[in-house]
């Protein structure tokens, strides 16, 4: 086709074991770009919003964007879109590494997986040819073992995305791990894959991605790369210390949710910081394919108790398995992070669930008879043990595998789950960063930081500094960030580029690749369209606006410490402004809005 998209969809029916190729709906591609947006359009058109996420009626779509696999920014991303078993909302999880580009180079824009296999299978794709293979011998293997085994039997250079034992046993926050250490992490997309008896997708692709106007694309890419190489965040901050540099920044700002969000600062933050990681276990940085930022961390454990090597932990994981649990033992956190990769579990929900279990235990709502061990804040051994038990589906790990909301609810205290729509917060306290509280409440996949990262203006001062305590105007910022993110996720670009570039650069790359002539405003409207489409699916799924809220702790319990001591979230004030800005009446998109976005 020669314009960013290949124009091909691979449809895999696991029930009847068929693999067929169909043309990409180009009208939809023009309206939803690709990746997150386009896959959401297919999913919402083909799947009844009320289906059980684990039923064969649910589908999962692996989606690249028109810029995936091109050079020019950090364009190695793909998305997994499905209905989430954790939240019941639409889920879109995003990953980088090498698998996404390989999938694109194999000739497909989207892979739609439907039905359910009778016994474990994996999908083999090689340059436009696809077939299902038996995976009985892979069932039970960790993600790294699975990848090694598939490469040995299929193709030595194949790129693999797979689930671990947690996905097989339907841990509700199981992820899909690709290239051994990158993950489509959140919302339980790996559990949906497990419910379909699909162990892995292995791809060998050696084609390229053609662009509509090569000279224009080269010029756009050159200018974009120059901006990324010049911006202090993308040229130095992220490459040098990765995301882990945030531990001290967020802690000093009083926004590091500690001991299940009981506090906003952790007195041992320095011990789990990026600076400490750099002095201890960090070996080097590493990038996803073709990325000039290279924010990834290659680490090796050298500790009498633990051994091993891998990637990470990232900031979110240092927090979730660390400060959230009151744990300051860095080696234990690195080890538990490796375990999450091996078993295939989202580290954010895993750590938050351990933290919630610790509070339930300390309050006497869980006892030794439930947990099989003492479970107190600060106990690194207990944290590691519970991660292991969850990954293996042993003992109390089975209950932990439900996520913090279902666990706390079963103990009669759902308010102790630090989550929105049953998905746990990431590493920012909504009392200390007001806009993030709004963002969590309105994110279409439950609490999430990568749907609209207002930490960037509110704390980091990028692109400009906003006051984290202020409420006025945050709704406008939240909508803008959410819409930009939807565009970036749909194009196949890494969100981290937006620290250094903006919509004008993404639009320029997109137009040069596709031959389209969209304005920045049209791209932002596409973002709004995607966000509203996701919202409409959630409403049909029964997720009503009353769920656009935050836990009582964040709304009513004043922060007890730090520079913003005494703060609570002012969500109600921001939320009504947000609905107005979106054109939603009491949280429901108006008929006029739906029509104006072409979603009627």
């Amino acid at each position: 086709m020669g314009n960013g998209w290949h124009g091909k969809v691979l449809r895999v029916n696991l029930t009847d074991k068929s693999c067929t190729v169909e043309p990409l709906n180009m009208e939809w591609a023009a309206a939803f770009i690709g990746g997150r947006g386009l896959a959401s359009k297919y999913l919402t058109s083909e799947v009844d919003a009320t289906v059980d996420p684990f039923s064969s009626e649910n589908k999962m779509i692996l989606a690249t964007g028109p810029l995936t696999g091109t050079y020019g920014a950090a364009n190695g991303r793909y998305m997994v879109v499905t209905k989430s078993p954790l939240t019941g909302t639409i889920a879109c999880s995003n990953s980088g590494g090498y698998f996404p580009c390989e999938l694109k180079y194999a000739g497909y824009d989207l892979v739609i997986i439907e039905g359910k296999a009778e016994s474990p299978v994996y999908l083999k794709i090689k340059n436009g040819e696809a077939e299902l293979a038996d995976a009985g011998h892979l069932w039970g293997k960790t993600t790294a073992e699975t990848e090694d085994a598939i490469r040995a039997e299929f193709h030595g250079d194949a790129k693999v995305a797979c689930i671990g034992p947690a996905g097989e046993s339907l841990v509700r926050y199981a992820c899909i791990v690709n290239d051994k250490h990158r993950a489509a992490g959140r919302s339980g997309v790996g559990a949906v894959m497990g419910s379909k008896n699909l162990k892995a997708v292995a791809v060998r692709g050696t084609g390229g991605v053609a662009t509509a106007d090569n000279a224009a694309f080269r010029a756009a890419a050159r200018d974009t790369l120059k901006m990324l190489r010049q911006h202090p965040v993308t040229s130095e901050g992220l490459p040098a210390l990765g995301t882990a540099v945030l531990v001290n920044i967020i802690n000093q700002s009083g926004a590091l949710p500690t001991r299940n969000s009981q506090c906003g600062t952790f007195d041992k933050a320095e011990e789990i910081s990026g600076e400490r990681l750099a002095q201890t276990f960090l070996k080097r940085n590493k990038g996803c394919m073709g990325c000039v930022i290279a924010c990834g961390r290659v680490t090796r454990l050298a500790d009498p108790r633990f051994s091993g090597a891998g990637e990470g932990p990232e900031y979110e994981t240092l927090w979730s398995l660390g400060a959230a649990c009151g744990v300051s033992d860095l080696a234990a956190i690195v080890h538990a992070n490796y375990l999450c990769d091996e078993y295939g579990m989202d580290t954010i929900t895993m750590g938050s669930t351990v933290a919630c279990a610790m509070e339930l235990y300390e309050r006497g709502l869980l006892g030794d008879a439930d947990t099989g061990m003492p479970l107190k804040f600060g106990d690194a051994d207990a944290m590691v043990r519970l991660v292991e038990m969850t990954g293996k589906g042993e003992g109390f790990g089975v209950r932990a595998g439900l996520g913090s909301y279902r666990l706390a609810e079963s103990c009669g205290a759902p308010e102790l789950s630090m989550s929105v729509k049953k998905q746990e917060f990431p590493a920012y306290d909504g009392r200390a960063i007001q806009g993030m509280g709004l963002e969590y409440a309105t994110s279409n996949r439950g609490a999430c930081h990568v749907r609209g990262y207002l930490v960037s203006p509110e704390i980091l001062g990028v692109p400009e500094k906003l006051d984290p305590e202020a409420v006025a105007g945050k709704a406008v910022w939240a909508k803008a960030f959410q819409d930009v993110t939807a565009v970036v996720d749909s194009a196949g670009v890494c969100l981290f580029t937006t620290f250094g570039i903006g919509i004008p650069q993404v639009t320029r790359l997109f137009n040069a690749a596709t031959g389209f002539g969209y304005s920045d405003e049209q791209m932002m409207e596409i973002g709004d369209r995607i966000y509203t489409l996701e919202r409409l699916f959630n409403l049909k799924a029964g997720i009503d606006p009353s769920q656009d809220t935050l836990p009582k702790r964040i709304l009513e319990e004043p922060l007890p410490d730090g520079p913003l001591k005494g703060a609570v979230s002012h969500l109600p004030e921001m939320l009504s402004e947000y609905y107005d800005v979106r054109g939603w009446e009491k949280g429901i998109p108006t008929a006029a809005k739906v029509k104006s976005l072409g979603l009627a």
């Binding site: 911006h231 202090p232 965040v233 130095e236 901050g237 992220l238 040098a240 210390l241 990765g242 995301t243 882990a244 540099v245 945030l246 001290n248 920044i249 000093q252 700002s253 009083g254 320095e270 990026g274 600076e275 750099a278 002095q279 924010c295 990232e314 900031y315 979110e316 930081h449 990568v450 990262y453 930490v455 960037s456 704390i459 980091l460 001062g461 990028v462 692109p463 400009e464 500094k465 006051d467 969100l495 981290f496 620290f499 730090g562 520079p563």
Partner: protein, 94 residues
Amino acid sequence: MVFLQIYGTLRMMLGGRESVELPCYEGDTVGSLLERFQAEERIAVTHKLIDDRRMLHTGTIILLNRRNILHLDKLETPVRDGDVLALFPPGAGG
């Protein structure tokens, strides 16, 4: 005395040093403290935080007693004995 806490790439430049104490005088500001810091270290450090027009880089975070100076008087913010100044060169994550 003013206590400077050093983070990120600045700490790496200074061989892993986490903090520095500097004397503080009448009329001192965040800007004058940064100049004194550089003079004492005898290597260029302030360019990690500010540009040659004395503007903070996009993404630089300087907290005075845990308050971002961008919400105070920026580099002109007065500094007093016993204050804690945390210095973060531009960094980010998610």
